[in-house]
């Protein structure tokens, strides 16, 4: 006799038309968790992997042992980077809707992750981003024009038209290339860190993936190698609750936090309020110091919320409540840092509005400049013959022949005759 299925299928607490429900989210009060020594044994700090490190309280004050005590001007720089990230995203989203770039990915609601974490690292530390880490580039001062030109695949595109929009890289800024295949950067970051250790450097690596792609084998590979060789690396799982339409329970987050996987591998794990700039900065600085002192890797789970669609190719109203983000208990990272600065007497609504206007103007100016190098529809276009370059270090004969064939096709197209 057939029985009813006993298979458990995870489902999110609310779908379209239902009331947002974040009762599943376990949140520690700000200041509640102890800050251990950076050399602490991972077994002594397992509570960090299931609790949540938070610094900013409901009154916008920085409280508790994780308060990084940043100077107001550093906080203002962080606010500026986050705002610039959001305004850049807004502009690029609009440009995609106008059909002038093919694709875009916003980081709305999770700007603090990239910005605070980058600011807690040294400029020569190597970063291995995911596709929603544009804040890494902005926090390290990469020109928006360069980022825009990449999205445009134009004559100034760092990728020479070979990558979809947002798959940036920046060699001199120590930011690695974005693959598009998920989580592949995890073992690569660990390998980079192993090389740094082998060379006797005190540089470290940091990598980001989403909670969704933490299910990939490369997550396990990265964690295993990081643990085995005590690689000086910070491995982040940005838990923004959503992997396109699948909520974090589908990635394995229902029973246990993602950070708790760290201690399972013998690696320190820290769950942190991903919309709390100060907590993120403090936790990342702690992990960086731990790595530099030879105490090994840290797995950090910034808990945040993907306020925008996954990309310009999906509509979140099809799979979650429209007002989900408004109900998100950890708020908006920009608003929280702004209120903290105001509470410190170091910021005001007026200054904030001025900054927004100034940054908006900057984004527009960058966009005007980026278009000079061509768009998908106008202006100069990359030479398609360059597609044969960089397959190998030296172009092999068969690619030379294929390029010659393309030459004939291009020539024939201009003369409106059949290619020979």
């Amino acid at each position: 006799m057939m029985r009813d299925s006993r298979l458990h299928v995870p489902h999110p607490p609310a779908r379209p038309g239902q009331t947002p429900d974040f009762s599943y989210l376990q949140i520690s009060p700000a200041g509640a968790l102890a800050r251990p020594e950076v050399t602490a044994a991972f077994t002594d700090i397992e509570l960090l992997a299931t609790g949540m490190v938070r610094v900013l309280d409901e009154q916008h004050q920085a409280v508790g042992p994780w308060n990084p005590h940043l100077e107001p001007d550093e906080l203002q720089v962080g606010l500026r980077h986050m705002l610039l990230t959001r305004l850049f995203d807004q502009r690029m989203q609009m440009i995609q809707r106008q059909g002038r770039i093919s694709f875009y990915v916003r980081s709305l609601g999770e700007e603090a992750v990239s910005v605070a974490q980058t600011m807690a690292l040294r400029p020569d530390d190597m970063l291995f981003p995911s596709y929603r880490n544009q804040g890494l580039h902005i926090a390290r001062g990469h020109s928006l024009v360069e980022l825009m030109c990449q999205c445009l695949s134009n004559t100034r595109d760092m990728c020479k038209g070979r990558q979809m929009p947002v798959m940036y890289h920046w060699g001199s800024g120590n930011i690695f290339s974005i693959s598009g295949n998920l989580a592949t950067q995890y073992p690569q970051a660990v390998g980079w860190a192993m090389a740094a250790a082998l060379k006797g450097e005190d540089r470290i690596a940091a990598a980001w993936i989403g909670e969704g792609s933490s299910a990939e084998a490369d997550f396990h590979h990265g964690m295993t190698f990081a643990a085995v060789y005590r690689a000086p690396v910070i491995l982040n799982i940005v838990n923004n609750q959503w992997a396109i339409s699948s909520f974090q329970g589908v990635a394995g987050g229902e029973q246990r936090s993602f950070a708790a996987r760290g201690p399972g591998y013998g690696i320190a794990g820290i769950r942190v309020d991903g919309n709390d700039f100060l907590a993120l900065h403090a936790v990342t600085a702690w992990a960086a110091e731990r790595a530099r002192r030879g105490s090994g890797a840290t797995l950090i789970e910034p808990v945040t919320y993907r306020a925008s669609a996954h990309s310009t190719s999906d509509d979140p109203a099809r799979y979650r409540p429209r007002d989900d983000w408004q109900a998100w208990p950890l708020g908006d990272p920009i608003e929280r840092l702004k209120q903290h600065l105001i509470a410190l007497g170091e910021w005001s609504t007026q200054r904030h509005e001025q900054l927004v206007a100034q940054l908006e103007a900057h984004v527009v100016e960058c966009w005007m400049q980026a278009q000079q190098s061509g768009t998908m529809t106008e202006g100069p276009r990359l030479d398609p013959r360059t597609m044969f370059e960089d397959v190998l270090a030296t172009m092999p004969p068969h690619l030379v022949r294929q390029r010659q064939q393309l030459d004939r096709e291009l020539l024939a197209a201009t003369q409106d005759v059949q290619p020979t």
Binding site: H169, Y186, P187, G191, D218, L392, P397
Partner: protein, 338 residues
């Protein structure tokens, strides 16, 4: 000149490169303290230390992924995949990452990783220790694919592979690790000391990649082979009495098409031999290349002699293996065709 088998020649190449270039590191399963399951890294950890000859977890994807990161940070990792059959967990890291890093970053990042892997059957390895997956890798742009057929070439090609700026998949036909095998398992094993390819200089030398070698000059038919099959083809040619020219491809990608096509244009016939399965295999690419360049000089249809399109069966290795009889029959057929 020193006599070496292929294992010793590969060991010597790694030794030479570890000595010459501080950025060379070896990593893989059992390659360190133990010296590798086939002994190719024997003694190297003792000589160069455990920082440069690393035992790794059993995680091919992790090994190649970590090697890419090391390569990005300026090291030249030489990784061993214990059997080519185990390469598939690393496939994404090889195909999507290693092969395309230079391209996708327009040259800003690259990783010069060499991936060694023993391949081929005839060692009672069953379907998970016998495969010849070279055709899967030759289909990927951005990597080079090499397979030597003797100790001298193995050392020179491996040194060139490690020194190359691009990633290289380096296949080692394990049936000929200890001696040249002509496809007759019942015959007494022949050691490399009885073959000119077993004479291997002790020091540094390179053999250029993408250069095929004519190992037997002939006028009636061109045989294209690589790895173990070079020796099997030689036995088949002797058996058939056909005056065949045998070309050892040595590098499969990028391919030395000039040497191949010059020969076929001269002989007018072509037989392609590989141990791997047939459908969609590397022989199909060779056949198409020859046909495109030599069609008007061909006197007979191009023949492919390969393993059957089945997994490599444990109990029927020699019925599966494209031995000298199967090759000789093809040689006779192309001679009878015209």
């Amino acid at each position: 000149m020193p006599q070496m088998n292929m294992i010793q020649a590969i060991n010597s190449a790694l030794d030479v490169m570890l000595e010459r270039d501080a950025s060379v590191v070896l990593m893989g399963e059992d390659v360190g303290y133990f010296g590798g399951v086939f002994r190719c890294t024997d003694g190297l950890q003792r000589k160069y230390g455990e920082q440069r000859v690393l035992d790794t977890p059993i995680a091919e994807g992790g090994i190649v992924g970590a090697a890419i990161g090391m390569g990005v940070h300026g090291l030249k990792p030489v990784v061993e995949i214990q059997f080519a059959d185990y390469a598939y967990p690393a496939f994404d890291q090889i195909v999507s990452e290693l092969a395309r890093l230079r391209y996708r970053t327009a040259g800003e990042f690259h990783a010069a990783v060499t991936v060694r892997m023993p391949c081929g059957g005839g060692i009672r390895g069953g379907q998970t220790h016998s495969q010849s997956p070279e055709g899967i890798f030759t289909h990927v742009c951005g990597i080079k694919v090499v397979m030597p057929s003797n100790p001298y070439d193995a050392k020179g090609l491996l040194i060139s592979a490690i020194e190359d700026a691009d990633p290289v998949i380096f296949f080692e036909p394990k049936r000929i690790y200890s001696g040249p095998f002509d496809g007759e398992p019942e015959k007494a094993a022949v050691p490399w000391s009885a073959h000119p390819g077993g004479e291997v200089p002790a020091g540094h030398y390179g053999i250029p990649l993408s250069r095929a070698q004519i190992v037997r000059a002939g006028s009636q038919v061109t045989v294209l082979a690589y790895g173990t099959m070079v020796h099997v083809a030689q036995a088949a040619v002797t058996r058939s009495g056909v005056d065949a020219e045998i070309i050892d491809l040595r590098t499969l990608a990028p391919l030395d098409t000039d040497t191949l096509c010059e020969s076929v244009n001269r002989t007018g016939r072509c037989v392609i031999v590989h141990e791997a399965t047939r459908f969609g295999g590397f022989g199909a690419e060779l056949s198409a290349t020859v046909q495109e360049a030599c069609f008007w000089n061909l006197l007979a249809p191009i023949e492919r002699v390969t393993g059957w399109d089945t997994p490599y069966p444990h109990a029927f290795e020699w019925e599966y293996f494209p031995g000298p009889d199967r090759i000789a029959a093809a040689l006779v057929r192309v001679m009878e065709a015209a």
